[in-house]
Every structure is written in structure tokens, then in C-alpha cells.
Symmetry: C2
Subunit: 335 residues, 2 copies
Amino acid sequence: MKIVIDVMGGDVGPEVTMQGIAQASSSFTNNDEFILVGNSDEIKKNLKSKISIPYTIVESENDVEMHDSPSKALFEKPNSSIAKGLQLVADKKGDAFFSAGNTGAVLAFSIKLLGRIKGVLRPALGTIFPIGRHPLVLDVGATVDIKPEMLYQFALMGSEYVKSTRDIESPLVGLLSVGEEDSKGSVILKKAFELISQNKSINFLGNIEGDDFFTDKVDVIVCDGFMGNVILKFGEGIVKFLKNGLKETVSSSLMAKMGMGLAYPSLKKFFKKLSYDEYGGAPLLGVNGISIVGHGKSNARAVESAILNAKKLVEHNFVQHIKESFEKRSNGEKD
Amino acid sequence: MKIVIDVMGGDVGPEVTMQGIAQASSSFTNNDEFILVGNSDEIKKNLKSKISIPYTIVESENDVEMHDSPSKALFEKPNSSIAKGLQLVADKKGDAFFSAGNTGAVLAFSIKLLGRIKGVLRPALGTIFPIGRHPLVLDVGATVDIKPEMLYQFALMGSEYVKSTRDIESPLVGLLSVGEEDSKGSVILKKAFELISQNKSINFLGNIEGDDFFTDKVDVIVCDGFMGNVILKFGEGIVKFLKNGLKETVSSSLMAKMGMGLAYPSLKKFFKKLSYDEYGGAPLLGVNGISIVGHGKSNARAVESAILNAKKLVEHNFVQHIKESFEKRSNGEKD
């Protein structure tokens, strides 16, 4: 298989991405290939660890910056690493695309160049929440004006994604609402509840609540992109707040400083468990191809696991599965 | 003034509520009165500290349990402490109502017995987020199917609430969205943005994001009840998760245990700052009377501060202010 990788994206620069690529390469064979898209000088300069499988370099220019708006990227940067990389997948010259770059730009180019799978109303951006059963949360920002049918499709696609990337035959799916009872939630939520319930191929647990992000009830959390985005940012905010607050608190007392020094190794282990590094990036589901975005602050391990996730999705024919489950429905077949 | 207090509500029982009442009484004068609603035996039994102002007891029966559904409470418990207490405010025999009981039941009875202020589309439940400028977040669960006009009204009522309860002349208001730019958010959010912008009596900062819960940008955070509820529960979930996780981590290592022991006093001080106790309960805005719900796990200090908040709202003619600002609008006056 051929994995296309944007080397220019990410707040941390090509060095970290190249390191992640090198690490990932040991999980591939000589029948596979990496297509690295970016500035070839930068790529060569940062090629510090050996890539153990064949690779080619595709030159890009005028790359997307992290602060560029999606529309600016779309209209002004058609030769950027993101655009060129996704074009390769669209042209079937690559099997999957990964970028640690500007999420909005990756979404915009993915939708434009790969297109939507027939029957998919809106694509959804998923992300793994690193607690409990490590649920895939979707959508986290692609779609803000939601309809019940879209939430239903997110449940279906999220379920397929978890099946393809983990050893879970029948992933548990929860719908994020304001109470566990079927009758709770907005009009849109109640209708979505009904639609998801009707598809017997989805292992639907029913409504879940905000605190269920921290229990181990489900493998997939379905919500609209507005909610998903706010929750994600809220989570990032609280982590930053606690970090700064604890640092300040502890540094104000010698005893506290000594104490935290002693406790540090155990604490580090605990917080390490909460890291996103192991979870392979945020997949864009519903587009006609595999497209994965890494966190802008991805480290080499995060890049590596995103590439390995892309590999799993190719091996499991993920896009084909989504296509089939949508075709089945449009043919009126019962699931 | 007369403050009506439900003594039977709360997970912790009448003892804690009575202690809070006694503490609050020292901030009132002999011209004021407490009306305590509940089982008189329970009230007398738990009257351990002196209430320094006059008070009367109103007998209730068949009180609302914490797990009762709002509709069960509404139809089966018309003589409960919540129902009888709110009826006193509706009949102008009391100036404000406080309960640490079942939030859904307090909402349902408040709307039924006090009614909505003319012009208010939907009431909103507010809560203080104990970080940054301690913003009032509303709505946190009263209204799940939202319209732009409702969000606009939440901004107006939230702003009035902060003016009445704190020394802030022109509270900063933010609209919770997925990006800071005006153009971000759902169709509903964009329309709400426009409406809020047009009312010059609101000091509107514009869109804020999920991580702004942890910055000190605004005094009022406007969102729909669905979002507010999920965020609140998510926050409760993360606190519980961190507490348990840290406990487990630390107890697995003697060194960590010793270290945390040394750091404990400083850590306690930090976490104390994040407590809801000081912030006076969750007000229900838009109903024709003052109705405040405490957290089910309210301690005496939380009960006390909720009662003192009720006092401020009465002193500032809060309900009258809301009425006037809505009348002004229905008369077509410019703000």
C-alpha cells in the first residue's frame, strides 16, 4: 500500500514528522511505499533516522500555515503539501493521507478533492478520547448545523471505524444527551435516537451524559460538531488550567515542592495515560478516501501511530465498508 | 424581606440546610423573616444553631425525592416543600425561594407557579463557573430546543443578574461558539450573535470558545441548555476522574504517598478555590419571582451564600429589572 504523508504540517516542524515516519516504517514491508509531500530540502535535511521501506518525495510549495483559514488555504494554496497529498489519494496514486497540519485546511481539501461517499450527508471528524474505553468521539467540528440523519450516519461510520481499527466486533455506541432516558434531549436528538435504534447493525447503548466521557460505557460517542468542538476545547482548557494552577500552588510552598518532587514519577505515569499520542490522529469519516489529521502538537510517537492507523484502515477496506453500508440502506435493505 | 426556604431538599438532609440558614440569618435584620417549609419535627430537631431573625414554619408533606422526575413531582406532590414554598412566592407572601432539592422539580414548579415574565420565551437556569471571572453560565439545562431569540434573552437576563449580584456595572458577555470570528458557529448562533450585538445595553464581547471557561474574559457565558448541561456534567466527570485516578496512582507508591502528604495543604487550598460553595446556587431566570436551586450536595456555606444571593436579588429588584428590559423591547424602544 502507499501512504501519502504531509511532511510540512504541524506546529513542531518537519523534524518531528520525519522521525515519526521513520518509526512507522518498521511496521511496513518492502511492498509498501511512503509518498512524502513537502519541500525536498527540508525533507532531506530532517531525514535523521532510516526509513526502512521505499519512499518517494513529491515537491510542494506555498504550504498551509497553522493560522490560515480553510478558505484561504483552499483558494490560495493549491500546490501546498496538503492539497498535493490529497490529490494523490483522489487520483488513486496513494491509499491514505496523513497530515499533522491545519485541521480546517485538511477538512476543506479532503471534501473538495476526495468528495463525499454517495449517501453521506456530511463528513465527520472523529477523535479518540483517551479515557475509559477510549471512545471515538464524532463529530468534533466538521458539521455544526446538524440534522438527525447526520447523527445517525455518524453512529454508523463511527462504529465501522472502531471495527476497522480495533479488535472490537460490535462497538458500543452512545448518543450524547442530557439524560439517560430515551425521552431526554432536544427534538433533533430524540429523532436521531429513533433512527440509530432502528439499525440493528449498530450496537446502540442509548443516551449517555457529559460525565460518561469518564466512564467506560461506550466505544463511540455521537454528537454534533458544535458540541464536540466545545467539549474538546473545554478539555484542553481544563488540562492547561490544572497544570498552571498546580505549578503555581506548589511553587508557593517549599514543603509542597518537595512533596510533589517525591510524587512526580507516579503522577507522570498517571498523566501519561491521558496523552493523545497513542491514538493515531483524528480521522475524517464520510469522504471518499482515507484522510487523517494529527494534532498540531503531534510528537513522533503520535505521527507514528496515526500512520499505523491509516495502514489498518487500508487493510480493512474501511472506505469500501462505509460505501457498502450506505448502499445497502439506499437499496432499502434491512440491516 | 421574606425569604422562603425549602428545608427538606438536598442529598445531605435538613441538618445541613438548617445550619446554613442559621449562618445566613446574621446578615439579615429583625425586619426580615425566614419562612421555613418542611416537616416541623425535622426542622425543630435540626435547629442546632440560633436563627437570629424571626422565622415561621410552614408544614409540607410528601416531599420531592432527589430521583423523582419533574412530571412525577408536578402531578403527585402538590403539598411538597418545593410546591408550597414556591406558592408562597407566587402569592407574594414571600420575596424569594431557595431549595437545595431536585433541580428538575424546582424548575417545573417555578414555571408552573410563578409563571414566565411577559416577553420571556424560555426561562434559563444559570450557574456560576468557579474559575476566572466566575462567569454565570446560562442556560445549563432548562431549555434544550433553542432559538436565536432565546439565546439573546439569556444574554440580557444573565447580564442583569450579574449587575444585581455583584459590583459590576457592565458585565462582559460571551456567546459560546466554535471560533472567535463573528462568522463562526451554527446558523442559530450566527443569528443570536447579530441579535445580541444590536442591544447596546449588553456589553457583548462576541464569540468565545470551550477553553474560555478557564480564561478570565467574560462575566456571562451564553449557551443553550443542552450544551450547558453537557459541559457541566463533563466538568463534574473530570473532577471525579482526577480525584480517583490520583488517589489510586498515589496509593500505589509509598514515595508518592509521602510526597502527596507533604503537598496536601497547598493542593487543598488550590482545589478549595474551585469549589461551588461560595457562589450562591443556580438561579432560574425569566420566571416571575426569585427562585434559586442549590446543588444537591450543598454544604452549610453553600446554603448560606445562596440565601445571601437571594437577598441581593430582592434588594436590587431583580425581577422588576428584567420586566422593564423586556417591556422596553416590546414597546420598540431602542436600548
